[in-house]
Structures are given as C-alpha cells and as structure tokens.
Amino acid sequence: MVMMRMRRAAWLVLALALTLLGTATVQAEERTFFAMDTVMSVRADGADAALLAKCEERIAQLEGLLSVTKEDSEIARLNRDGRAELSLDTQAILSFALEMGEQTQGALDVTLYPIVRAWGFTTGDYRVPSDDELAGLLSHVDYRSVTLENREARLPEGFMVDLGSVVKGYASDQLGSLLRENQVCSGIIDLGGNVYCLGRKSDGSPWRVGIQDPSGEGIIGSIAVEDRAVVTSGNYERCFAGEDGTVYGHIFDPATGRPAESGLTSVTVIGPSGAECDALSTALFVMGVERAAEYLKNQDHVEAIMLDEDGMLWVTEGIAEDFIPSEAFRAQRTIQ
C-alpha cells in the first residue's frame, strides 16, 4: 500500500517537474527589422531564427508589391500607367480595401493619395494646399472609380491608389498564418505598433497590450487579448505644424481632403483580422464617435476603444471587461 502511494507520488512529482522544466525552457525567438517605413518585430515561442527570417522576407515581398513609393511596385505601376496586372496578394488587398470603402460609406478611401501627396506627407515637404487645389484634387478621389476585373486593375486619368491604410494589417495576418503553418501558436507580431497577438502566452495567460496616449508618453490603458489584432490610429504619429501654428495630422477625411476633424484623437480596433482592424481604425477615426458607434452596432466581431478631444474614452461593450484604463483616463462610456 505504502509502495503504491509512493510510486503514485513519484509519478506526480515527475510530471510536475517536467512541466516546470518545460515552462522554464520555452524561449521566445525575436527578430527586429526596418520595413514599410517603420520598425517591426516578430516574437514567437518555439520558432527558430530561420522561420523569423522568412517572416521578414514575406514583409519585404509585400512591400515590394504594395509600396506606393517604390517605382517598380505593382501599385506604383498602377498609379503611373492607369492599369496593371496584379499578383494574388495585391489583388486580394485591393479588393478588400475597396470592399471596406463600400462598408464604411467612403470613410476609408484608398484613392486619397493625390491629396496626401499634396499635403507633403509622402515627401516630408509639408504644406497646406489651397481650397482650389484641394477641390481640383478631390475630383480624382473616389474608390468606386477603381475597377478590378480578374487580375487587372484600372484607374481613371489622374487617380492614384495608396494601400497604406491596410497594408500593415494585411501583413500581420500573413505573418500569423505563416507562423501557424509552422506549428507556432504563441507570439506577438508588432509592425510599427500595429499589433497581432497569436494565441496566448506560453504560460497560458492572455497577452496584455498597452495603447499609447496620443498626447503624451504613457498609455491610455491596456487590454487582455488572445488571437486578436490590436490596431491604433491617431494623428499624433505623423503630423506637422503649419505657418499659423495649426497642427495637421496624416489621417484625411475623403469628403474634405483635409486632415480629419472628427473630435477623436485616437481609435483602437480589436478583432480577428489585422487588415480589417487596420482599415477600421482609420475609418472610425474619420467618422467620429456617433457614426462609429452606429457602425460598430452591426459588427459583433470587432471591438473598439476611442478617445475624444475631451479625454472621454468610448469602449465597446464586448471589450469593456478586458480593458484597464490608466489613472488619467477614468472617464469612460460604454458603446452598447
């Protein structure tokens, strides 16, 4: 009897010890690199250096296809020639972006590029275009004018496409798939703050993602997530001060051709698709709280955290329990 108990205890101790040893030896491989005009990192438990190198190669491949500033990219060719044969990646992401334009009633418009260029956000030569210039350029902005048939895209004269509002999200989805295909089920993909959380942490707990405070150095709060993308848009990252001291942000309202003035300073979208979260973080920012809340009512699979100019946080009901606001951001309203 005593012997049996001892044997059982031995097996238990052995199992416990192996679990302890296993937990202690899971090491996360990490790779950091510059791409798509930002710093990216991929951290994955159980991945080797070769797999993370493949992740970087995949990003470089997507950048080569989708960059609006690389002269030989498919998007640059489309903008230059008005038509282009597209790879499956470019076709998929352009088709998705046009669909999001439709869903958001034009709050996301990938044909805004002539406007973005006029304001100097692609070159660093910032300036405030005149109303006449903007009116002229706006006649070349309408996502519904892009035609995509089979693998050929066409643009009317003077139109240009920029997929910058969805590229990083799409890329994070692609890296998530690549890691999963290689039996990696726990990791963090951080593409310049565009975050995708793969599975849970190796200790079984959810990932905790902070959200940057748009006006300072800290965070507005943090959320616990698993298998979710967390994407934030705000006008604080890329902006410039005009001669009159006005600060102009890089998120444009397709209706006016001017930086969006929706009353929001930051929008974070949480959902299973990085591309959708990326698209929506921009679109909801343009919409403002009321339109965004209305839109979100019909989107059960995505959640949002929005900060307005008065410091009020607007949090969708589905994420409210997993969101911990920082001390300075206790004023909060729930979007039902």
Partner: protein, 136 residues
C-alpha cells in the same frame, strides 16, 4: 505481524523512493533555475542605426546627465540620458516624431526616428513585463 505494517524490505524500498523523489525534485529545480530567463540586470538603453548597435547607455538613479550626438551625412540626433531617463533631445529630421515622444518609458515602445533610421530601446526596465506590446 499486521499486513498494514511494511516489512524490513519494504521499509528499505520506501526509503529508496523518498531518495528518488528528492533527487528528481532537486535535479529538475536546478535545471529549471539554470534554463529560466536570468533575472533582470541593470537598466540600459541601446541605440541602433539601421539595426546596427551604436551605443549601450547604462541607466541608474545617481547618474550624471549626459548627451550623445549621432551624426550621419547631414542627419543629426542628440540623445539625453540622465536620472530621469532617456529621450531624444533634438533631431534635424522633418517630422520630429522622435523628439515629441518624450521619455522612453516602455521596453515595448522604443523611440524611433524613422527618417534617420535611429532606434532607442530600453532593457531591464522595472515595468518591462507589464505589457507584451504597445499599440500605437
């Protein structure tokens, strides 16, 4: 002799089991300690240009404030390090995003000067484990 009382041979075996249990526990504990991530060391900031490490700056409460200038072609970044922490003091980049970011507070939110491809990271910060990533 009752059947519930172990014989001398069984007692000896019980002793062996106890020794085995202790050995397993001690060996695995030692291995776990050996393989586990080493405990936090001193806090440091690392400065990279295009992925190449330029400087490691140890940070501690009693340090004297110091500035480092990193120039490359016509690009210049000045980094301040002191008891308050690390920040990009100035840069002649067009967007000034790195300067506006202020103090480097989180390991997962490095200061990045994209136009000059300069990155400042923080290691072994007291709150390093607080967030797995920062969405921005």
């Amino acid at each position: 002799m009752s059947r519930n009382h172990p014989s001398g041979r069984e007692l000896l075996s019980t002793g062996k089991w106890v020794a085995l249990l202790l050995t397993i526990f001690l060996l695995t504990s030692a291995a776990a300690i050996l393989f586990a991530k080493s405990p936090s060391q001193k806090m440091v900031a690392r400065v990279y240009r295009d992925g190449e490490l330029l400087r490691v700056i140890p940070l501690f409460a009693s340090m004297e404030p110091v500035e480092f200038s990193f120039g490359f072609e016509d690009r210049e970044n000045v980094i301040y390090a002191g008891p308050e922490g690390v920040r990009m003091k100035s840069a002649n980049c067009p967007d000034q995003v790195c300067v506006r970011q202020g103090w480097l507070r989180f390991a997962r939110m490095p200061i990045v000067c994209l136009p000059h491809r300069i990155v400042i990271t923080l290691e072994n910060a007291p709150d390093e484990e607080e967030f797995d990533a920062i969405s921005r």
